[in-house]
Amino acid sequence: MFIDVGCYQLKKAKQNAYGDYFLSKRDAHGRTIAVLSDGLGSGIKANILSCMTATMLVRFLEKEVPIKEAAEIIMNSLPVCQVRQISYATFSAVEADEQGNIRIVEEGNPSFVWMHGDTPQKADYTEIVSRSFPNRRMKVYQFQVEQGDRLIFCSDGVTQAGMGEKDYPLGFEREGLLSFLQSTIAAERDISSSQLARLVVDKALFCEYQHKSQDDISSAVLTFRQPRKALVFTGPPYEKHKDREYAWQLVTFAGKRAICGGTTANIVSRELKREITTPVTTAMGALPPLSYMEDVDLITEGILTLTKAQEYLEEGRLNEADAAGSLVEFLLSSDIIEFMVGAMINQAHYDPALPIEIEIRRTVIKNIKRVLEEKYFKQVNIHYV
């Protein structure tokens, strides 16, 4: 099973830093770790507290310290606010593997929601009391999910949204969240984690007084499902006699297929005797336009488009209309992305007469891999051919 991780956050109105912090990592064995922490108060102080808590937890879990133990160490060591007598940061930590084994530890955050399709499920937990602070308890869950299940985590900014308003005297509450999740998932069964997280946060904001966030609002979602795969073929292969093999690998790939590169597209076209068409469009912006070929979902120019796509991904510009925007959309609609990178170098790209500097393909692909993994929680593999 693939674990699709998505998160969306809003700052408390007029603050300049997020008081909630979300971190997620996926290790080589397919284990996914995610932590959502809410720092006391808001703004930069809360940001530091929640960032510290989330980072420590993720590090512990990465080093395979059992989740219960890691949470206990943090709970025992986290300071308590002198004035309010509550802990400086609350957290939810989850560890999930590809078989659907889940372990969750919560301290202070609203309890997560486990949805099987559009039906909420109940999970049993054990409570552990902090040794040094008996009023602090953490809940430990261990259970198994199935394909199609979702785990939804949120900060109290969601459950307390709109508190004091006529329609929500006690806030949006867990009941509000549950019925919202049920109707949203029933309406769109295949909704992605990031879309669902965004809808939850938007809904919470909608409940708020004057639609302004009175607290940091965060939601993180883990969806367990069949992975959507994509293959991107870019750059001519080093060994010319293998061109045909790679061309076939592309068009028979079980998933979505893209070519980034004019020469690469020509190779596929030549080897498989399939025509490429490139409509001449006048308004195309600063990048060469898209081309079309049977059985290939997307064809773009190579290095310029890839470089631009990297920029869009890093800056979070996800709705651009040019070829790089189409590539970004292609990449983000997949979970597992394979890059088949040809090692042949086009000398003409490094002609000093060129008015701009062209990056080396490998570097760009490595950067794209990094940003896709760290910022968009994708699984990316690079194969050099």
Partner: protein, 85 residues
């Protein structure tokens, strides 16, 4: 009479060296010559890496590769072909 086929290269090198302006050329040529020509964009003519041709950007008119292609150069070749016939 078969229309003259004009291919404009939109490979990386050509695009960087002026393919973007060449593309607008397609419209201008089409306006001037109408049905006598056929304009197409191609992904890469694969001539930039060979030294046999002068310099990017490239265009191809009925199979004839034009280096450092510009509106004037391409037009000159089209005129030559039209007059020849």
């Amino acid at each position: 009479m078969k229309p003259i086929k004009i291919e404009i290269c939109l490979g990386t090198t050509c695009f960087v060296m002026g393919g973007e302006t060449l593309q607008n050329m397609g419209d201008m040529l089409k306006k001037k010559y109408g049905a006598k020509i056929e304009v197409e964009a191609v992904r890469c003519l694969e001539v930039c890496s060979s030294d046999n041709f002068s310099k990017a950007p490239y265009a191809r008119v009925d199979g004839e590769v034009i280096g450092e292609a510009s509106l004037e150069k391409v037009q000159a070749v089209i005129e030559k072909k039209l007059n020849h016939e």
